[in-house]
Every structure is written in structure tokens, then in C-alpha cells.
């Protein structure tokens, strides 16, 4: 498949993954910068829980390559990769993560609550509860006669939550234009999928709803791209929802500060990083060269650092405004 894929698409996938990783590394740096020597979750320029998506770039890059900002994406507590790949304004997003007035939510939301009407992006910190609203966005798109689609993301741990089941049934029943993504990174915090999920494969659960389900192995970005292409196309053409599970990788801890003492597979993890792997393939196949890699990184770095600088320069919210925005 990769042979037949347009080189530009492959370069874009790579650039997207690099951008995401660069972003997560920068957030990681800023998050920990002023939490030393003793880690304090509530301290520093970026406080609160921080769930980073390093290792899961192939999912967001492969899926969002098929979307425009007219399409909707609802992400999870681990939302950055999808927000970036879907084109959420990086500066406003970063300002939100820093809790500033120029943030997407004027500092009210934070890293698990990023809402961007311009790109129909949202997320939720509650497991699987982003699925039902995504079905509703799809319903709105369908009622209006558009070919827009909604993408809903969740983890493999979340696939055992009731909302998952209810939404898949509803979307299939009403033939809604949704693509359901399950990011299987093998872990739900400290619980391995074998201790949470009675079957090996969530894609197989799609059959329970009469919708197509595929599982993409090996965190393979181009396979994600292909599967998502089909599913998005189906949704746009009135063919209803699909489920795609991607076997991906949690490169870092569940959240920052997670020592991962429970994780037996820890040693092998760095070797599975999808970015160097993909880079090597593209280099070998001559799709990119070293200069392109360097340019990709440099561009990503500039964009990301600009966003961080923007966030830092933005004002903190005025405590006197604490009661604002409860009601419209």
C-alpha cells in the first residue's frame, strides 16, 4: 500500500507526527520545568494532570489527514495529538494549557477541556463520554444535508464503559456519519488490557452493532491512514459509522509523574517509537531525505515554540471574572 501512496501524503503524515511529538516534548519540558526538585502537580506554569500522547501520533495523523475543519473531532483526556492533527489553533490551545486569557477557554478549561468551535474540536476528561456528543454532531451534520463527519476517539480501556456501547448502537441505528477510533495503547493507567477487556480485539465488537470494524496493528500510520480513508469516505457517502482500533503505544507514563512501576514491558518501549521507525522507512524509500527531516523538525520547533511563547505572554485570568461564562 505504501508504495502506491502519494509521496506528499506520506511526507505530510511524517510532518504531522513530528509536529505532535515536538509539541508534546515542549509541553513535557514546560510542565516539569518549575516542578523541581520536588514534583508538585499543582505547581508551576502548567499545573494539573498532564496526559501526553507521545507514541500515539500515528493515530491522529492517519485519521485527521482525511478531515477538514468542517468535520468534528472529540478527543479524550489525552487530546493534544488529535487537536494538533485536526488543525486547532496551536497558540490558543497552548494558552489554554497554560491557563491564560487567550486560551481556547480563556483559562477555564485546561488541557482536558479544549473546545474549538472553529474546527469543531472538543474533548472530555471523562472516559468514553466524548462518544455520545460526537454522535450528536454527526446527527446535526446529517440533518443539515452536509457530508461532514464526526470522529470520536477513545482508549481501549474506555471501550468497556457503557457510553461506548450506547453510542455505537445509536450511531449504527441512525446511520450517522461517525468514525469511532479506539486507541489501544495496551494500558488504562496501570491496568493492562488483559485485565480490563474480555476479548482481544475491540474492532471485533463492531459486529455487535452491524458496523464495519477494523484493527490496525503495529501503530502503522499508513495503515491507519488507509483504514480511516475508507471509514471517512463511507460516512461522507451516507454509509454510516465505522470502528477503527489502532494498536498504538503509550511511550510515556499515563500522566506526568507516573513512575510506571506496574509496567513490565517498560524496557522494550523506546524501541517501538513510531517516529524513528517511520522516518527510517521514508528515508530508505527515498520519500524524504535528511534535509527534509531536519526541515520538518525545525519547522515544528518554530511553530511550537511560538505557541509556547504566545501562551506565556498571555495574561492570567483576573480572579474577579471567576463567575463569568457559567451561563450564556
Amino acid at each position: 500500500m505504501s508504495a502506491s501512496m502519494e509521496a506528499q501524503v506520506r511526507r505530510d503524515l511524517f510532518d504531522q507526527m513530528v509536529l505532535i511529538r515536538t509539541y508534546e516534548e515542549a509541553v513535557l519540558r514546560e510542565y516539569h520545568a518549575d516542578k523541581k526538585p520536588a514534583f508538585d502537580i499543582g505547581a508551576g506554569l502548567i499545573p494539573g494532570e498532564m496526559h501526553l500522547s507521545a507514541g500515539q501520533e500515528p493515530v491522529a495523523a492517519g485519521v485527521c489527514a482525511h478531515l477538514t475543519t468542517d468535520d468534528a473531532v472529540t478527543a479524550t483526556h489525552r487530546p493534544h495529538h488529535f487537536a494538533i492533527a485536526h488543525g486547532v489553533d496551536l497558540q490558543a490551545m497552548t494558552a489554554e494549557i497554560f491557563g491564560r486569557v487567550d486560551g481556547l477557554g480563556k483559562g477555564r478549561g485546561g488541557h482536558m477541556h479544549l473546545f474549538d468551535p472553529a474546527t469543531h474540536f472538543s474533548c472530555s476528561g471523562i472516559i468514553a463520554e466524548g462518544y455520545p456528543p460526537a454522535a450528536g454532531q454527526a446527527l446535526a451534520f446529517k440533518r443539515r444535508g452536509t457530508d461532514r463527519v464526526a470522529v470520536a476517539v477513545t482508549g481501549e480501556g474506555a471501550a468497556n464503559q457503557g457510553a461506548f456501547h450506547e453510542t455505537l448502537n445509536l450511531a449504527a441505528l441512525w446511520k450517522l456519519p461517525v468514525v469511532f477510533i479506539v486507541e489501544d495503547n495496551d494500558w488504562g493507567i496501570s491496568v493492562p488490557r488483559s485485565a480490563s477487556t474480555s476479548v482481544a480485539d475491540n474492532a471485533a465488537r463492531a459486529a455487535s452493532y452491524g458496523m464495519p470494524g477494523v484493527r490496525v496493528e503495529d501503530n502503522a500510520v499508513e495503515a491507519v491512514y488507509a483504514a480511516a480513508g475508507e471509514a471517512v469516505e463511507r460516512a461522507r457517502n451516507g454509509g454510516g459509522p465505522s470502528l477503527i482500533e489502532v494498536h498504538t503505544l503509550r511511550l510515556w507514563g499515563h500522566f506526568e509523574g507516573d513512575a510506571q512501576g506496574y509496567r513490565a514491558d517498560l524496557e522494550g518501549v523506546p524501541g517501538k517509537d513510531p517516529i524513528p521507525t517511520y522516518e527510517a522507512v521514508l528515508l530508505e524509500q527515498g520519500v524524504i531525505d535528511d534535509a527534509a527531516v531536519a526541515a520538518s523538525r525545525k519547522n515544528a520547533s518554530e511553530v511550537v515554540e511560538a505557541a509556547i511563547a504566545f501562551a506565556k505572554a498571555s495574561a492570567e485570568p483576573d480572579p474577579a471574572t471567576v463567575l463569568d461564562h457559567v451561563f450564556a
Partner: protein, 342 residues
Amino acid sequence: MTTTTEQPTRRLNTAKAMVEAIAAEMERDENVFVLGEDVGAYGGIFSSTTGLLDRFGPDRVLDTPISETGFIGAAIGAATEGLRPIVELMFVDFFGVCMDQIYNHMAKIHFESGGNVTVPMVLMTAVGGGYSDGAQHSQCLWGTFAHLPGMKVVVPSNPADAAGLMTAAIRDDNPVVFMFHKGIQGLPWMAKNRRSVGPVPTGDHVVEIGKAATPRPGSDVTVVTLSLSVHHALDVAEELAGDGIDAEVIDLRSIVPMDTEAIIESVTRTGHLVIVDEDYQSFGLSGEIAARIAEHDPTILKAPISRVAVPDVPIPYARPLEYAALPTPARIKAAILQQTGR
């Protein structure tokens, strides 16, 4: 913004008044649509959607699976995209299977987005007991909703308010929880409160959310209440008027926002407060009313307040027990008599 009483009226029961208000808004705005369990051919278990399917078709009146998290969540997503869903939770007692969508999403998205996303929707739900439906189908629970910020909570007591508040709720850009009492719907299969049928203004009839009504002014004691209990309070007040007790009855009509001023103004005059609440007594509406007075000026109370509420017991099935738990006219009367020293 509230009812102009000069408008011509027609007599409707509360259910029909709600349906008419919904239908009028559906005519006016194609973004308004209805979804929920049995809202289609059945017309709503408590007749809140009767006839809408015939009038507007299955694209705008959607029967759903029994998946409250799924379809209320879907309503939320649709609202964030500019539709104006009216979604029915058949009994408020079922909130526990879908509360995350309601309070962590419907009620918070606007805030978390810094005001950039609006969630214009109505969550309508039936409340109340009195017909032996047991502990899982008889609750009011408005206190539970009112405690959690980000949603308005509307609780009409009569057909005109049901219509006017429904219209206001649909037009509101915020999520509004609309709680209607089964006992005032005017259902053909349930004992009817005589005031479940009443005049409803025709034309554009809007009742502002947040303003209490005073269906009976009085000077001796203030009875603050809402929903079905308004009628019990009025009945008792009428009866006691013959004994020279002049009770004022305040119908809150909404509790988020709550018309604190109306309460304080009245209690300042009467010095005596009876709160009648069909929800559980503790940690709810009656407490909040007491706190707002105590924050304002406890000395306006000439006597300890009386609470006539469900005494922190699940609603019992057997009729004698259920009626011992409910705020009955007898209990309201006893409280008023105690307040007035009779």
C-alpha cells in the same frame, strides 16, 4: 417578558400546553427537534409530545433506544452544532444512568469553553409521586440538579407557566432542565388535580425564567413552594382563609435561578415561613431557601421555619406510607397552623 394577561386564552391541560409550546417553536425554528424514549407514536409516557410525530414527522421527533447517556449526549453534541434539541428523560429518577452527560457535559461545556460554545437545549423530565410507583419512579430530585452549576432548572405548576416557561427554555441559549409533575399533566389515567387544566394565553407567550409568581398574596405566613405542591398550598390557604389565616403562596417556577428577592420580600412582611417541597428534605431546596434568608437577615423570621418535605426516606410503595412521606395538604395545614400559633 412575562405573560401579558390581556392576551386571549384557551383552556388546556399542562401536557397539552407543553406540546403546544413545543410545536410553536418547532414551527418557528427548524433547528428545534425532539428526541427521547417513546416520544413518537406513543406521544410521551406523560403526554409531553402527543401529536408531534404526526405534525413534524420522524426526522424531527425521534424515538430513541433505551440509552440515556447515548441520546442525551447526542442532544448535547447536536446543540453545540447549533441545533436546539428538546430531549426527554422519561422519569427524573433515571438520571443516574446519564448524569455524566448532563452535569459534566451539558452544564459545563459553555464554561469550559470560556463562553465560546453554547449548548442551547431543553432536558425535559417527569417528576413526582403520589400514585404508588415506588422508590425508583416517584422522586422530584430538583435539588440534585440545582446543586450542580451550569444548568437552569425550571419547575412549572400550571398549564400557562408550563407553556410560557417551555417557550423561554427552548429560546434560551443555555441548557434548561424542565421538570414537569405527572400530577398536573392532566393525564386521563391519573387522578387529576383540578388546576391541571387552565387558561393558556395564545400567541407568543413567554414566562421569564427566574421570576416567582404569587398566586395568593397574604400577610400572616409565607408558603414557598413549587410544582404540584403549589396547588396543595393554595387549597390549604383557601381553607384557612375561612379561619382568618391569611397565607401567602409563592410559586417559585424556577429554582435556578431562584427568585430570592420574592421570598425575602414576602417573609419580611409575614415573619413566618413554611417551605413545601416534594423533594427530599435535607441538602436541597428547603435548605437553600433557609440559607438565603439567614444570609440576608435572620431576624425577619419571627419563628422557627417549617419544612414540609419528604423526610429523607426513599418514596415508599404502599399508599399509607407514601402519603406519610409526601407533603400533603394535611401536613401543610399543620405547618401553617403551627406558624400562626393556632
